[in-house]
């Protein structure tokens, strides 16, 4: 039972201190320290979030901007340490967050493959054995020996995706990444993700595109204001998400109506 678990998130809470103005220089810190004026606004990006993802599941993480989607991914990836609770992963995890952001612009594509591989925790021999496959999949050809600063953003994304998918992760984190590159590469990468899925890779997928989610995922996690609203079958999750969207729009419309009404009332009052 236990070895069937890929990700276990246990009661995770993530608190950010939003100091009203960010103090990152000594002078200001000193003045504020003396005036006892270091104010922090506490903000819980996540609160009491618990779920368990089994191996081989492809989970969509859906929710509004600021719902905590990226934060939960970063907690799972180990980049952020949660303020409360714990997140455990079982298996080699490869995050694909904002592709190509980690490349060194001065380095060539080939050198960046080794650097990125090393950052993901792989050894030289392993990267050596995968190198040709990565280059081939990225379709970069001779550009692989050109510094990355001369790449287009699509080329960077292709290289990033190629590295992350060829190194055979057990848990793959995809954050809005299947929407990069041209149409043919997008199809190719979707195929690649599907192939990995068939091999039993666990996928965590963040996207605003319901169509893409339907293609990849079988389960959904719905987050709203840092809270877990729903975790279960995909279609149910999407329905809940859409219901939430409707609620929001209704609330927004009602609010707008109200303000419009009061504005009109005010005008009436003025006229009278």
């Amino acid at each position: 039972m236990a070895n069937n678990v890929a990700v276990k998130v246990d009661n995770v809470g993530m608190k950010f201190n939003l100091s009203s103005n960010k103090v990152d220089n000594l002078k200001e810190y000193f003045i504020r320290f003396i005036k006892r004026d270091i104010m922090y606004k506490e903000f819980w990006a996540l609160k009491n979030v618990s779920f368990t993802i089994n191996k081989g599941d492809r989970v969509a993480i859906i929710g509004y901007n600021g719902a905590g989607k990226s934060t939960i991914l970063k907690v799972i990836a180990g980049v952020l340490k949660p303020t409360e609770g714990s997140a455990k992963t079982y298996g080699k995890i490869v995050p694909l967050l904002e592709l190509g952001a980690g490349f060194d612009p001065q380095y060539t594509g080939a050198e960046n493959i080794y650097l990125y591989g090393a950052i993901l925790g792989y050894k030289k021999e392993f990267i050596d054995s995968k190198f040709d496959k990565i280059v081939k999949f990225s379709e970069l050809g001779d550009f692989i020996n050109v510094p990355v600063k001369n790449y287009s953003s699509g080329m960077k994304a292709r290289l990033g995706f190629s590295i992350a998918s060829v190194v055979e992760p057990e848990i793959l984190i995809l954050d809005e990444v299947l929407s990069v590159g041209d149409a043919s590469f997008r199809k190719k990468s979707l195929r690649r993700v599907k192939k990995m899925m068939n091999q039993g890779v666990t996928v965590l997928f963040v996207s605003h595109s319901v169509a893409q989610i339907r293609k990849v995922c079988n389960k959904a996690i719905l987050l709203d204001h840092g809270q877990l609203k729903f975790y279960g079958e995909l279609e149910e999750g999407i329905a809940k998400y859409e219901a939430l969207a409707k609620d929001r729009e209704l609330a927004k419309a009602a609010k707008e109506n109200e303000t419009a009404k009061t504005a009109v009332d005010d005008k009436k009052g003025e006229n009278a």
């Binding site: 950010f16 201190n17 990152d24 220089n25 000594l26 002078k27 810190y29 970063k74 990836a77 180990g78 980049v79 952020l80 340490k81 995050p95 967050l97 904002e98 952001a101 980690g102 060194d104 001065q106 380095y107 050198e111 080794y114 650097l115 090393a118 950052i119 993901l120 925790g121 792989y122 050894k123 030289k124």
Partner: protein, 266 residues
């Protein structure tokens, strides 16, 4: 305590290749797109040595020796050690900010970045020691057995760099203007290192304590002692070792405690 220790060691082994990649990257990129490339590690100290020798032998009327060796060798020995310290600490300080994009995306033991910066500076320093050997040979410095002991102050300096580099790197995350402050502090350290004047003058005037509290001067003093054959000055040796070890222990503890917070400050 034993369980986290095992974890730390296992983690280090896992990311050993990353450390070497980062070190290689820093050295490679430093000299990329320059015609002479890595040869600059040899030319640059040689040129500064010539300039400093010209300036200070004219101003101070020194034409012969300092500290029991030719003046150019004396200057070069001091400057090489000092510039390793300043390069390593500056690099370590910047390393977290420069790699912020990566740190925010993928988990990597964070001490890798400052450590890689310090080690790459150390390698460049080690290569530039060739110049010192060359100049010493040309200037007919007599070989002696103490020269083998020169490794002791060099290792001390490396420990000092790791300790202060870790400390500075983490403090710089929280207070960015520390990078500028450290530039000023380095200037003070440089002038109290007796790089281009004889230390005896300061001692004679009663300002010797300025040199004594500066661990970098202690390292330089012992390094020169090894070249000239006068041997090691034990109080400085112990002082520098203690300084290095204490700063490393404090640096590691500090880094360990703060490393989960600083991502929020990047």
């Amino acid at each position: 305590m034993s369980i986290p220790n095992i974890h730390v060691i296992r983690n280090f082994k896992k990311y050993k290749y990353l450390l070497s990649q980062l070190v290689i990257k820093e050295i490679k990129l430093k000299y990329r797109r320059s015609y002479l490339g890595i040869v600059w590690t040899l030319i640059e100290p040689l040129l500064t040595m010539i300039v400093l020798t010209m300036v200070f032998s004219a101003f101070l009327g020194k034409d012969g020796e300092a500290g029991g060796m030719p003046f150019p060798v004396y200057i070069l020995a001091g400057r090489l050690l000092y510039s390793f310290f300043s390069g390593a600490t500056k690099g370590a300080m910047k390393s977290i900010r420069v790699n912020a994009a990566m740190i925010k995306k993928v988990y990597v033991p964070k001490y890798m970045y400052p450590l890689a910066s310090i080690l790459s500076n150390f390698i460049i320093f080690a290569i530039s020691l060739i110049v010192l050997f060359g100049v010493a040979a040309v200037m007919r410095v007599k070989p002696n057995l103490w020269m083998f002991a020169a490794i002791i102050p060099i290792i001390e300096l490396l420990i000092i760099c790791i300790g202060s580099g870790l400390l500075l790197s983490i403090m710089a995350v929280f207070f960015r203007d520390l990078e500028y402050l450290w530039g000023v502090a380095l200037m003070l350290i440089m002038y109290t290192c007796a790089i281009f004047y004889e230390a005896d003058r300061l001692y004679a005037r009663g300002y010797g304590w300025l040199l004594n509290v500066n661990p970098i001067y202690g390292v330089i003093r012992n390094f020169r002692g090894c070249i000239s054959g006068t041997g090691l000055h034990m109080p400085s040796l112990w002082y520098c070792l203690a300084f290095g070890l204490v700063s490393t222990i404090v640096g590691v503890i500090f880094f360990y405690k703060k490393q989960d917070d600083f991502i929020l400050n990047l």
